[in-house]
């Protein structure tokens, strides 16, 4: 604020004879100075490697000595099935993640304006960003385990599922002999029975600890005229024993519902087994019958979804990734909201617009630059996804979950150490993002 500049030129002159204060070469000089450190860093660490990589992609795996291979590496890129899968997966990531992350961040940013504990909420949502991607992968891998007694998510699923359909008493049991066959989810003894007969229903595949309480030494009941009796028991003793024969050391299974089917297959009686596993169908009219155990007894408990299996692995990864980055989106958008001029909003409200209209017609358009920053950053981050796939996906699902950046790292830094193809993949990645950039550039030019 020197006196000289005040007396120099009146501020409104259109084309001053000499450079106006702050315009012209002195401003250019300032510009150059301000940009110099950035350009040095960018030139050496980003520009030079990019050129190096583009050139390198036209050479073979062992470097310049390996010789020029032209577009061979690019051909490999599109013909190797593992790389094509990686491209497909990356497309899914790009289509899903940026949109979700931006939307969730926007919703959170708007909602937390209304609560007093917004700092606590922001910290909680942002917390995953503080954890390394590797540790996040390990954490979610543990949560996604299929076994409901180990994986938190399937444990929740089991609680819900078991509340709806209770699991059977013997989910893993199988018949011990071929006489007992499966029918409609349950088991049926094929040998025809008449009143005074005995039905032996031997089962294996049950651990002694899983037997219902009250289990005793199995007993083959004596025949009763007019009744059909029998036993349901764990037909196994150490060493195997004789299947189909009730032996010493084999335990009966109490609490199993046994059904008596008549000749046409209808269930005419049902009863429960006692401690030694015996049951008794009383006063059975003459005829041919079959005994069986209903499907409900064998209902398997919720087995858990294969979150880490080949088909669900990508959605599982997407969820974990959104969990990490929603915080970033929320914080940036909240900063944008904070910087928004309040008077415009107030004016809209005074004009009688509802909250939703204010949001849609005023807030979102004003936030557009911030939203686009988040969206574009996420697209680029998603194309670089690496640590979390490495840590979360088990080796068996790595091929199905592979992304472009991971495929590139694998090709160049492990396995065949092929820098030629690796460079080609990197160049492909670069080419993919250009349309996105073009969009943003167009918006930018429109603004200016």
């Amino acid at each position: 604020m020197t006196d000289a500049s005040i007396t120099a030129e009146p501020p409104l002159r259109a084309a001053p004879p000499g450079p106006a204060p702050g315009r012209g070469p002195s401003r250019y000089r300032a510009g150059a100075l301000f940009l110099l450190p950035a350009f040095v860093l960018l030139g050496v660490w980003l520009l030079y490697p990019t050129v190096y990589t583009i050139v390198r992609s036209f050479f073979g795996p062992s470097g310049y000595l390996g010789g020029w291979v032209g577009i061979d590496n690019y051909k490999t890129l599109f013909t190797t099935s593992s790389l094509v899968t990686a491209i497909k997966n990356s497309a899914i990531w790009v289509a899903v993640v940026p949109a979700f992350v931006t939307a969730i961040g926007l919703i959170f940013a708007v909602l937390i304006e209304r609560i007093r504990w917004s700092v606590a909420f922001k910290t909680i949502i942002f917390l995953p960003m503080a954890i390394s991607a590797f540790a996040t992968g390990v954490t979610w891998r543990i949560m996604y385990q299929q076994d409901p007694s180990q994986g938190a998510i399937n444990a929740l699923g089991r609680t819900v599922s078991d509340a709806v359909t209770a699991p059977g008493v013997l989910p893993s049991a199988v018949p011990s002999t071929g006489l007992l066959q499966s029918q409609g989810g349950g088991l049926i003894l094929k040998t025809p029975l008449h009143p005074g007969g005995v039905a032996l229903l031997g089962l294996t595949g049950i651990a002694p600890a899983d037997l219902p309480t009250g289990s005793k030494q199995a007993v083959k009941p004596a025949t009763k005229p007019g009744d059909i009796v029998g036993t349901v028991w764990r037909d196994f003793k150490p060493g195997g024993g004789k299947p189909g024969v009730v032996e010493q050391g084999e335990l009966g299974i109490p609490g199993v519902t046994v059904e008596l089917h008549d000749a046409s297959g209808n269930v005419v009686q049902s009863t429960k087994t006692d401690g030694p596993g015996t049951f008794d169908f009383t006063r059975v009219p003459a005829g041919t019958y079959q005994a069986g155990i209903g499907a409900a007894t064998f209902a398997k408990p919720f087995g858990g979804y294969s979150w880490l299996g080949p088909s669900l692995i990508t959605p599982s990864l997407l969820i974990a990734y959104i969990w990490i980055w929603a915080g970033f989106s929320m914080v940036v958008i909240a900063a944008g909201l904070a910087a928004m001029p309040r008077d415009v909003l107030e004016a809209a409200r005074t004009d009688g617009a509802s909250e939703w209209q204010v949001f849609r017609r005023v807030t979102v358009p004003l936030l557009a630059p911030v939203l686009s920053v988040v969206f574009i950053t996420m697209i680029i981050n998603v194309l670089k996804v690496f640590d979390i796939v490495l840590a979360l996906a088990p080796e068996s699902a790595q091929a199905n979950s592979s992304t472009i950046a991971l495929a590139m790292w694998r090709t160049a830094f492990s396995g065949s150490f092929d820098f030629g193809t690796g460079s080609a993949i990197a160049v492909f990645l670069f080419l993919l993002v250009i349309p996105v950039l073009a969009l943003n550039i167009r918006r930018f030019r429109r603004e200016a």
């Binding site: 500049s5 510009g31 909420f121 910290t123 954890i131 390990v138 574009i376 993002v433």
Partner: protein
């Protein structure tokens, strides 16, 4: 005039009351919804913590939530084992140098460049900006080999400085992108009047732009700090050992390493979280400073 406007616009007050009622009703469901979301969001982190305070034999075959039924299982033996490990403190120090160093560099260089692209004029400015933003897509994996070769020629391979420069360079495109977009939003008249008053660009930068852009700068600093605090691959390649590389090197070849990974990871998140807390207040200050023009 206000009274005239209000008497003319009869429906408006009516809407405003209904809107107010809606807003009042709307508050509690939102509170509950956000509370539920917050709790669910915390579950994985709680899982990580529980895994670190329970001996391995307990978590290897049962879900970690069992601890709530058997609180006596909790032990800090994993943590004490970690503290007795000589490499840990060195690794933490290295992490701090890298994270703080490169964040400072990015913020300073990025803000200078962001301002230049926003408010300084020079030929080809817009195309240069597009070029800089285009560099956002360069995957850092690909720069590892050429940079590594370069470092060994310069003789700075394996030093903390080498990693700082690498991270700073890769953080710049986003920094310049973010800051330039924020600076553009600063009202033109403020800058014009300062220039007319004869202030030099550097003065405008220090006295006007930095204070006004504080929310954005704070956000940028947090992200850059976090990203580099938790980076693994860059330090691994350049032979430097911050906490992430240290954890990685402690993983046993043929045994489970969950006790080391979960414990060290949980320890490691304390610092970034503290940083976030500290910078949180800047947001509020920035808000207040920005609204009073």
């Amino acid at each position: 005039m206000a009274t005239v406007a209000e008497t003319v616009r009869l429906p408006a007050p009516h809407e405003r009351t209904s809107a107010k009622i809606l807003r009042a009703l709307g508050k509690t469901p939102i509170q509950i919804l956000l509370a539920v979301i917050a709790v669910l969001w915390l579950v994985p982190t709680i899982g990580l913590f529980v895994t670190s305070i329970v001996p391995q034999s307990a978590t290897s075959t049962a879900g970690w939530w069992k601890i709530f039924a058997h609180p006596s299982l909790a032990t800090f033996s994993n943590y004490s084992a970690l503290f007795h490990n000589a490499g840990l403190t060195g690794a933490l120090k290295t992490t701090a140098y890298i994270a703080v160093g490169n964040t400072l560099l990015v913020v300073v260089v990025g803000a200078l460049a962001g301002y230049a692209f926003a408010w300084l004029e020079f030929p080809g400015r817009d195309w240069l900006f597009i070029g800089v933003v285009a560099l956002l897509v360069v995957p850092l994996q690909m720069a590892l080999i050429p940079t590594f070769r370069l470092y060994n020629i310069l003789g700075i391979g394996g030093t903390v400085l080498s990693v700082i420069l690498f991270h700073a360079a890769f953080g710049l495109p986003f920094a310049i992108f973010l800051l330039r977009n924020f600076f553009v939003g600063i009202p033109k008249d403020i800058l014009e009047s300062a220039r007319i008053d004869g202030a030099s660009e550097i003065r405008i930068f220090l006295r006007l732009i930095l204070p006004l852009g504080l929310p954005a700068i704070a956000s940028l600093a947090i992200f850059q700090f976090l990203w580099t605090w938790n980076d693994l691959i860059v330090s691994l390649t350049f032979g430097v050992t911050p906490i992430t590389v240290w954890i990685f090197s402690q993983m046993r070849e043929f045994s489970s390493s969950v006790d080391v990974v979960s414990t060290a990871s949980f320890l490691s998140l304390v610092v970034p979280l503290a940083v976030f807390f500290a910078f949180q207040r800047y947001f509020v200050q920035g808000l207040l400073a920005g609204s009073v023009k």
